[in-house]
């Protein structure tokens, strides 16, 4: 075979090898490291969120409902899945991402999300988060999300009881300030035998994996779903 023939074979061979490499990309997951952490938790506990075993009864508090009236958390969520999050409407990142992710997955799951499941947002910035603003902000995500507000000291004590840090509002407050607050969404499945914390960084795939199991938790009779 002359050099032109050998060169031709080398060219075709290289092209073929590159094509195999290209298509291997489709089979190669190459997940970022944090995905491995969620998967590890799922293998250990059945949930991608962080499970707290035997957490005790869910918190007993009553706050103002942004749509009017009062909201008794324990009474209103008894026997059903509740997702509780402390944030504020001027939050530039964490809060809208959490709310948006839950809303998207809720739409995906439909009835499997649970007719009685409640998503509850409690503001840590009552100075700016008027009831009207809370309602308007939540409706960007889902009109069924519940918005609550109360005295800062009351809200802080609720967060502390859940192991979350109290809000840190800077002093003096300029018009445009950011509030430091805890990042996780706390899930209270029916029965309260476990509690699941979903930190910032929880992906929609993680929510999808866990929420359907959490919504059906009372009927499952045991923790988790396999991964």
């Amino acid at each position: 075979m002359d050099s032109r023939g050998r060169g031709g074979r080398r060219t075709v061979g290289t092209a073929a090898a590159l094509l195999v490499l290209a298509t291997a990309a489709g089979a190669c997951r190459l997940e970022a490291p944090e995905r491995g952490e969620a998967a590890r938790r799922a293998q250990e506990t059945g949930f991608r969120g962080r499970v707290i075993e035997n957490p005790g009864p869910r918190p007993d508090f009553v706050l103002n409902d942004a749509r009017g009236g009062r909201f008794d958390f324990r009474a209103e969520t008894d026997g059903r899945l509740a997702l509780l999050f402390f944030g504020y409407t001027h939050c530039p990142d964490l809060c809208p991402i959490h709310m948006s992710s839950i809303a998207e997955v809720k739409r995906d799951l439909g009835a499997r999300f649970g007719r009685d499941t409640k998503v509850i947002f409690v503001t840590v910035d009552p100075a700016r988060d008027t009831p009207e603003r809370i309602v308007s902000w939540l409706e960007n995500f889902d009109p069924e999300f519940i918005g609550l507000y109360g005295e800062p000291a009351t809200v802080d004590s609720i967060q502390l009881s859940l192991g979350l840090p109290p809000a840190m509002v800077p002093e003096p407050t300029a018009e445009d300030y950011e509030v430091g607050h805890g990042s996780p969404v706390v899930a209270f499945p029916a029965g309260d035998s476990i509690r699941v914390m979903f930190p910032f960084g929880t992906r929609q795939a993680d929510w999808l994996h866990d929420l359907e199991s959490l919504a059906a938790f009372a009927s499952l009779g045991s923790a988790g779903a396999s991964d």
């Binding site: 060169g7 080398r10 060219t11 075709v12 290289t14 092209a15 073929a16 090898a17 590159l18 094509l19 490499l21 290209a22 298509t23 990309a25 489709g26 190669c28 997951r29 190459l30 997940e31 970022a32 490291p33 944090e34 995905r35 530039p92 990142d93 809208p96 991402i97 948006s100 992710s101 998207e104 995906d108 960007n140 910032f200 960084g201 992906r203 929609q204 795939a205 999808l208």
Partner: protein, 263 residues
């Protein structure tokens, strides 16, 4: 000092940010062109070629610098896709067209370089290499890992640019000569590139869940959801890429037709 656009995890602000690494990169390319043009002889590069090269350089600069570079690096998958189209599909052919024939002839005088170019820019190899670049640089793990650092983001942008040069070389560059690669085959070559874009387009547009953690967890910029942003990215890849490639196919067709008519 922030030299290159990368994901920063901070809220987006419509406040200009300097990225001197981008300016340096663009400046070096411009300087290399001007130095090359000067060394080729006293006759200036003709206006059309100069416009093509600097037009391509302008596209490249817009894609890499604030705001497009910053938005694409850390906030919106759709803007990241627009960057890909600009860096890999739009800038390289313009810049290659901007090189004068004498520059390509000088390449031909360097036998080893010519041999390497002949191999690397063989249409089969170039197309396959382009497929590797397109698929691997759009993998979630790759994007999520690289875009969080300036070096990683630069690497990704460079991969797109070099992949684009390799891809367009057999279509645009007159050296090495390829008499066995006429206009008709070039049109087929470009058509195959539109097929290559189909796979990532499908994943992005029809995927059930967000592909990239980087954009899913980025501070929101616009009113669109992560999934909508991803769908726009997929459609941009298909349609935007299609417009660019089919425009090139049309130009080739017209030239081929005119040549046939003249013959």
């Amino acid at each position: 000092m922030t030299w290159w656009c990368s994901a920063r995890g901070t809220a987006w602000e419509w406040t200009w940010q300097p990225y001197p690494g981008v300016w340096l990169f663009i400046g070096l390319l411009a300087a290399a062109y001007l130095v090359t043009a000067r060394r080729l002889g006293p006759r200036p590069v003709d206006g059309r070629r100069r416009a093509a090269f600097f037009g391509g350089l302008l596209v490249l600069w817009l894609a890499l610098d604030w705001p497009i570079g910053a938005l694409g690096a850390g906030y919106l998958a759709s803007v990241h896709m627009a960057q890909f189209l600009m860096i890999a599909l739009l800038a390289p052919p313009l810049m290659l067209l901007g090189l004068p024939r004498s520059a390509y002839d000088r390449l031909a005088e360097r036998r080893r370089l010519l041999a390497a170019l002949r191999f690397l820019t063989h249409p089969l190899v170039a197309l396959a290499a382009f497929a590797v670049v397109v698929y691997w640089t759009h993998l979630p793990g790759v994007v999520d890992s690289l875009m969080v650092s300036q070096a990683g983001s630069f690497l990704l942008d460079l991969a797109w640019l070099l992949g684009g040069f390799v891809f367009w070389w057999p279509v645009v560059a007159p050296v090495p000569e390829r008499p066995g690669f006429p206009h008709a085959l070039k049109m087929g070559y470009l058509f195959l590139a539109t097929v290559i874009n189909t796979l990532p387009y499908a994943f992005l547009t029809f995927g059930d869940l967000p592909f990239y953690g980087l954009y899913e967890l980025a501070p929101p910029v616009s009113g669109i959801t992560t999934r909508q942003d991803q769908q726009i990215a997929g459609l941009l890849m298909k349609m935007g890429g299609g417009v660019i490639l089919w425009t090139a196919i049309t130009i080739l067709f017209v030239r081929w037709f005119q040549r046939e008519e003249a013959a």
